[in-house]
């Protein structure tokens, strides 16, 4: 209980304390800065909010967005239009509406982006930025030509007071981003940046992850545009030109804007570099050249400024954590296998002319472990893909606990069928704890997570995943899915990546999974020692067809199976 309380305090307390300190610093700066510096300070805040947004979409969710200031222009447009129309509510309310309008446009742009990844999204957003720029120059913002300026609220009319208001808005935005990133959305952003398949297999919607990242980022862009409008009094197209959006993107990359402090640091650079160049009599465009060069360096994986600075004052050990797993002393308890819980009938998959699976039947008994073996190319991984919904063209039926299992992988994961992958699908941006919570789709008690991690010999929950080696990551993946308490878990070669001595120890634990976690298991495995020690029943695939199926001993003695495996050293 005490532990849980302390967790809650550090979860909510620390950010709030930082926020209060930030407000105090803001007040201090307001007193200390003269008018011009306060004005520059507002520019820093405006850029910081835009960069926070880019940190979400580009830094966390891994999508290239080149139109952040177009969203700013939408916010500015809404604020200007409401001002011209003398709409009720006042500036702060308009600011919020501007942000929301930009968020809505962000979702609309993001909708086609659902199927688009990487570079296509960059093309779309650059296209939007270019089109919006030409159009804004043509039609101008409301009130600009008539000279109707957006006035600051009377309470914050002078630059210093307005700066404080902006700082408070920034802090609210930063808190919002912080808590969103800690929550399920944030984990799904990190997951989708690493692997869409992994995200869907965790029962999270890839669509929601992408759209929410885009919407949050656009909303922040809109708010920064609204603040800029009241800073200057008028919105001008030049403030939102595509070149500036490009520069902001590059700045977000080079400063590492997915970290909130680095977004603020990037914003300081954004304002300070041109300002210093101006004072030294150097053309300000050199600022973009510097950003461009540092951006190329960061993009080329030569490290960005943000992480470099963090490393300086937080010298963490970079040693990687691995699996510590030893054999058990006693024979693990077994459940007597019950009725089939997962039933597959007539499953067929064709890729063009190739029949990867034809008419496969199999059943996973409740409380049991079914092993699927077969030579390379027998269709084992295709089988897992088809059952878990990644191959919509698959024919045949899959039933989970007597109910037909249909829909996309997200839906299937939510109905109680989980899977892991042969390749690493664990996003490195999270801690083990955050990842397990994300995959479990709930907040399991810390003790439960710790016990499960220890059971599989994984590093402790607070370890960042980028310090966990591949073998351990794959077991963390298994633990996460077990915490989700599915009815059936499909494991695609979970022991690959572990040293061979640890296969058996791992197998002993796997053997206990049905009794300990209440989860039935289908496992694909090459290591026949592991298969022998873990599986009650076996299904053998060969050229996409079931060669044999039944109790382990019978199947392994089957002459047809022996023949199919002849020459495979594992059997000799």
């Amino acid at each position: 209980m005490q532990l849980a309380d302390r967790g809650a305090v550090s979860r909510f307390g620390t950010p709030l304390v930082v926020a209060v300190v930030a407000v105090l610093v803001g007040i201090g700066l307001t007193v200390g800065l003269n008018g011009y510096f306060a004005y520059l300070g507002v520019s820093v805040v405006v850029a910081a909010i835009a960069l926070l947004g880019l940190g979400v979409v580009t830094g966390s969710a891994g999508m290239i967005s080149l139109c952040q200031l177009t969203f700013g222009a939408i916010g500015a447009w809404v604020v200007s239009a409401l001002n011209v129309a003398h709409a009720p509510g006042g500036f702060l309310f308009w600011l919020l509406l501007g942000g929301l309008a930009a968020g809505v446009v962000g979702v609309l742009i993001g909708l086609p982006a659902l199927r688009l990844r990487g570079i296509n999204l960059a093309v779309v957003t650059l296209g939007l930025a270019a089109a919006a720029d030409v159009t804004l120059v043509e039609i101008q913002f409301p009130g600009t030509t008539e000279g109707v300026s957006v006035d600051r609220p009377s309470l914050v009319a002078d630059d210093n007071a307005y700066f404080l208001l902006c700082v408070i808005v920034l802090i609210v935005c930063a808190l919002l981003v912080h808590f969103l990133r800690r929550g399920p959305w944030g984990s799904s952003w990190a997951a989708v940046a690493f692997s869409e398949r992994g995200t869907a297999a965790a029962g999270a919607s890839v669509r929601t992850a992408k759209l929410s990242a885009f919407a949050v980022s656009a909303t922040l862009g809109g708010i920064s545009g609204g603040l800029l409008t009241a800073q200057v009094g008028f919105a001008f197209p030049t403030s939102f030109a595509p070149l500036q959006s490009l520069a902001l993107y590059v700045l977000a990359i080079m400063s590492g804007a997915h970290l909130i402090d680095m977004a603020v640091f990037g914003a300081v650079l954004w304002v300070a570099v041109p300002e210093l160049l101006k004072r030294w009599g150097v053309p300000q465009d050199w600022g973009y050249v510097i950003f461009g060069l540092l951006g190329i360096q960061a993009l080329a994986g030569r490290g960005n400024l943000g992480t470099a600075i963090r490393e300086l004052w937080r010298r963490r050990s970079r040693a990687s954590a691995g699996v510590q797993i030893t054999a058990l002393d006693e024979e693990p308890p077994r459940l007597p296998p019950g009725e089939p819980v997962l039933v597959v009938r007539g499953l067929s998959v064709t890729f063009g002319q190739v029949k990867a699976l034809s008419g496969v039947d199999l059943a996973v008994p409740k409380g049991g472990v079914l092993g699927v073996i077969g030579p390379n190319g027998a269709g084992k991984s295709t089988l897992v893909d088809a059952i878990s919904g990644f191959l919509p063209q698959a024919q045949g039926t899959v039933e989970l606990a007597d109910r037909p299992l249909t829909g996309d992988p997200t839906q299937r994961a939510r109905s109680g069928l989980r899977r892991t992958f042969q390749q690493d699908r664990v996003p490195s941006g999270l801690t083990i704890e955050a990842y397990v919570r994300f995959v479990a789709r709930r907040r399991p008690p810390a003790a439960e997570v710790a016990a499960a991690l220890e059971f599989f010999g994984c590093p402790p929950a607070a370890t960042p995943l980028d310090r966990v080696d591949v073998g351990a990551r794959r077991l963390v993946e298994v633990v996460g899915h077990l915490m989700a308490k599915p009815q059936v878990l499909l494991l695609d070669e979970p022991a690959a990546g572990l040293p061979h001595e640890e296969h058996v120890a791992f197998g002993e634990r796997l053997r206990q999974v049905p009794a300990r976690f209440g989860v039935s298991v289908l496992i694909i495995e090459h290591d026949l020692d592991l298969v022998r020690s873990v599986c009650d029943t076996l299904t053998v695939l060969d050229f996409g067809e079931v060669l044999a199926s039944g109790p382990q001993a019978e199947v392994l003695a089957d002459p047809a199976v022996l023949k199919a495996y002849l020459g495979e050293t594992e059997m000799l």
């Binding site: 296209g127 159009t135 595509p242 993009l299 080329a300 030569r302």
Partner: protein, 286 residues
């Protein structure tokens, strides 16, 4: 409308040539080069500066500018293929976003942000069809687009160099192990597309809004055109460029639709992507 469409053909040819360059880059060196048009812009600006301020004869200035465009492109390619040899298309292309920013800013520093006094290399009408005048620029850009696309296709399918290039793009490491000079070939691709982009921009710039940003942003309609061929098919890239130019030209005839015209490349991009990616559900192969 028809008149407008034919007038838009010059821009269409420009888009088509750039789209062919983008397609070749995407296929052969796994980069969507956002700095494709900017490289051409920079080379052609240097050409203008050499002739106007440097006093060089115009033909020499143009040749030097074009060569610079090629060298610049090779340089970018060198950075990408050295530092990001194993990276995916996304990361490799993101670097060119930074290069785009860099080139525009550099041109502001060197040449100011006013449009440059380009000398028209080609001027005047070529011929008249049914009362509509077709300019020399139109003829040359459209012809260039078609010729380059054909030549590229021939080189890629019929010559040993082309076959090496295709091997290189499909399986870079394997190709290198087979003894294909990966670096030299990809430098050649970067150089060739840099030269072509600069040539086409030198030809068209006098009749375009030719400030650094506008010229560099030509990559947007070019990308829209290249998307029609899915960044893979050269013929469709050419067709896409021509259709896009004609569409914009036709829309320019109607004053009320001028805002729509600005958004045509963007809408084309979104439409084509949504359509072409409708079956692409998952990111990685498995």
């Amino acid at each position: 409308m028809v008149q407008g469409a034919l007038a838009g053909l010059a821009a269409g040819g420009l888009y088509a040539v750039l789209a062919v360059c983008l397609t070749l880059m995407s296929r052969l060196v796994r980069v969507v080069n956002f700095a494709q048009a900017a490289t051409g812009m920079f080379g052609s600006y240097v050409g203008v500066a050499l002739s106007v301020h440097g006093g060089l004869p115009e033909w020499l200035a143009v040749v030097l500018g074009v060569l610079l465009g090629g060298v610049l492109s090779v340089l970018i390619g060198w950075v990408v293929s050295t530092w990001l040899a194993e990276a995916g298309t996304g990361t490799r292309s993101a670097v060119t976003v930074a290069v785009l920013l860099l080139l525009i800013s550099l041109s502001f520093i060197l040449f100011g942000n006013k449009p440059q006094p380009f000398q028209a290399l080609l001027a005047g009408p070529a011929f008249t069809v049914g009362g509509v005048v077709i300019s020399q620029v139109t003829v040359v850009t459209v012809a260039l687009a078609v010729v380059i696309a054909f030549a590229a296709r021939l080189i890629l399918t019929k010559t040993p160099v082309g076959i090496s290039l295709r091997a290189l793009s499909e399986r870079p490491t394997t190709a290198e192990l087979l003894g294909i000079p990966a670096k030299r070939l990809s430098a050649a691709v970067w150089g060739a597309t840099g030269l072509i982009s600069t040539v086409i921009i030198v030809i068209v710039a006098p009749s375009q809004s030719n400030d650094a940003t506008s010229l560099s942003m030509l990559v947007v309609p070019a990308a829209a055109a290249a998307l029609l061929g899915g960044f893979r098919r050269l013929d469709l890239a050419v067709a896409g460029g021509l259709v896009l130019g004609m569409l914009q030209g036709a829309l320019a005839q109607v004053d009320q639709l001028s805002v729509v015209r600005n958004f045509v490349p963007f809408l084309a991009i979104v439409g084509l992507l949504v359509w072409s990616q409708r079956k692409e559900v998952w990111d990685a192969a498995r």
